[in-house]
């Protein structure tokens, strides 16, 4: 059953991608423009102010997400004032390559969007480019972007699922689980026993279980949503450096606030080594405080982004060669990678929680002689 649904969503994924890129290819052909793989992939893995559903990239059907700007007061309007704004083409100075940006219209007047970044127009009412980057000032952008939307949906999904699991226990008490609870209980117990209990002191681990559970399910659910190629999935949320940065910082903060005398002692005055060595070790240990969460951040970001890139690149084989027969190669490979990504989705959530528990465990460990 589960395999069937996985397979069916993968097939739909492929179908939608075919439809999406297919129509794009058609419109590109009309505009006499080459299909640009890296542009398509980069566009997918980065954030956007719209949620593209189907049809060609420009002029297809999209959900226009709200723009929220903090620029001398709060400004909110729909992103369709950019996507249906005034398109501007400028030649960059050196190579003469043309750069495209859009000026906002209506409530978005005075702003322009270039590569999904919002800039303020200068006194001449345009963007000033130096090389390929505009040098205009930017307002603070708190927009509900595609990733924020995906984040909200992912969080909502975790809430609904876990609340219904909790409801089962509240209703039935301490009995053998059924239904959703039966599926999730072993995973929850796994996080408690194999992640928290295994790495953190037995008398202290309980305090950290809610954090580890939240971080695990947040990452796992959002990873899985990222694998679905259409609404409510398709955003590259857990492959976004901002999200992984935030999660890594959370673990860092928890670790630092949990650190006991023994932990700080090992950082600033390493026991059991000579005094010059103690001075030598101090900066290394201080750096290691930050390299650990940094590795967490990079690991999740790179794994998820790479997965998205591989699947898209494999599908692109068909469109680069402009021949349907290449699907015979590209679809099985994309299918294989997608199945692998289902595993990776779980594994990365597990690893993040596991390493967080390991760092916390090291911070609360008592000295043993």
């Amino acid at each position: 059953m589960q395999q069937f649904s996985k397979l069916s969503f993968l097939m739909r994924k492929v179908a939608i991608l075919l439809a999406f890129v297919g129509v794009s290819g058609f419109s590109f052909a009309n505009e006499e423009k080459e299909f640009n793989v890296s542009e398509m992939i980069m566009h997918h893995i980065k954030d956007a102010h719209e949620w593209h559903l189907f049809g060609p990239e420009h002029g297809g059907t999209s959900i226009y997400l709200p723009i929220i700007l903090l620029d001398n007061g709060l400004k909110t309007f729909s992103s369709n004032h950019f996507y249906h704004g005034e398109a501007v083409e400028v030649k960059s100075n050196e190579q003469g390559t043309s750069l495209h940006y859009v000026k906002g219209v209506g409530p978005a007047a005075g702003y322009a969007m270039y590569h999904e970044e919002i800039y303020k127009l200068n006194a001449q009412g345009e963007l000033h480019f130096e090389g390929e980057h505009p040098h205009n000032s930017q307002p603070l952008d708190f927009s509900i972007t595609k990733n924020v939307m995906s984040l909200l949906m992912g969080a909502f999904l975790v809430l609904i699922v876990m609340f219904s699991v909790a409801k089962f226990y509240r209703k039935n008490g301490a009995v053998a689980p059924k239904g959703l609870a039966k599926f999730f209980e072993p995973i929850i117990v796994m996080v408690r026993d194999d992640i928290a209990k295994a790495n953190i002191d037995e008398h202290k681990y309980e305090k950290y279980v809610p954090y580890l559970l939240t971080i695990f399910f947040f990452i796992w659910f959002n990873n899985m949503l990222g694998l679905i190629p259409f609404l409510p999935g398709g955003a590259n949320l857990t492959g976004n450096i901002t999200v992984t940065l935030f999660l890594a910082v959370c673990t860092l903060i928890v670790t630092l606030f949990s650190g006991n005398k023994n932990y700080w002692g090992h950082i600033f005055w390493m026991p059991g080594v000579s005094v010059p060595m103690k001075f030598f070790m101090m900066p290394i240990e201080i750096i290691s405080i930050f390299t650990k969460p940094f590795a967490l951040m990079i690991r999740l970001f790179a794994n998820i982004t790479a997965g998205h890139i591989i699947v898209l690149a494999l599908i692109s084989i068909i469109f680069v060669n402009k021949n349907m027969a290449w699907a015979g190669l590209s679809v099985p490979m994309a299918l294989f990678i997608s199945i692998l990504e289902v595993l990776v989705a779980f594994l990365q959530g597990f690893l993040f929680a596991m390493l967080s528990a390991l760092f916390i465990g090291a911070a609360v460990e008592e000295a043993h002689h």
Partner: protein, 164 residues
């Protein structure tokens, strides 16, 4: 490049959503779930412990029963043995008693017989004596029936006395 640069807006929303999620899940999901799971684990381990204890108790009880049974059996054997012994002694006693009695009776009978025998012999003796006397009388009568015979006898007797 902007792929690896954090975005303020997304950071803001991620922070809010994640903290809210952590709070809500910790309070309304993880707590009841973990409590229920812990309670159930406690219940199961207690039940297992109880089972082990009950098993041990059953074992002890069985051992006790066996012991009681063994004792009862031993006692029964003992009683049987004693009864047998008692019966044997009783039989033995009876036997000796009856032997003594019978010996007594036999003795008495023998005494009786002896006395009877003696009496009978005495009687026979008298009888024989009488008979002998009678025979002797008849013989004598016969011997002395005529004068010649009386004379011959007297001569014979006198001859015997002379010879003696």
């Amino acid at each position: 490049m902007d792929l690896i640069l954090p975005d303020l807006g997304l950071l803001f929303w991620t922070g809010i959503v994640f903290c809210l999620l952590l709070f809500l899940l910790a309070k309304f999901a993880w707590k009841p779930i973990l409590n229920a799971v812990n309670a159930r684990e406690q219940k199961i381990s207690e039940a297992l412990e109880l089972a082990v204890k009950t098993q041990a108790e059953m074992k002890a009880l069985k051992a006790e029963n066996d012991q009681i049974l063994k004792e009862a059996r031993a006692e029964r054997d003992n009683i049987l043995k004693e009864a047998k012994e008692a019966a044997n002694t009783m039989i033995e006693d009876a036997k000796t008693k009856s032997k003594v009695e019978s010996q007594k009776i036999v003795e008495a009978a023998r005494l009786n017989i002896n006395s009877e025998k003696a009496a009978a012999i005495a009687e026979i003796k008298t009888h024989v004596a009488t008979l002998a006397v009678e025979i002797a009388e008849k013989v004598v009568r016969g011997e002395l029936a005529s004068d010649e015979k009386q004379k011959a006898l007297a001569e014979k007797l006198a001859g015997d006395i002379q010879m003696n």
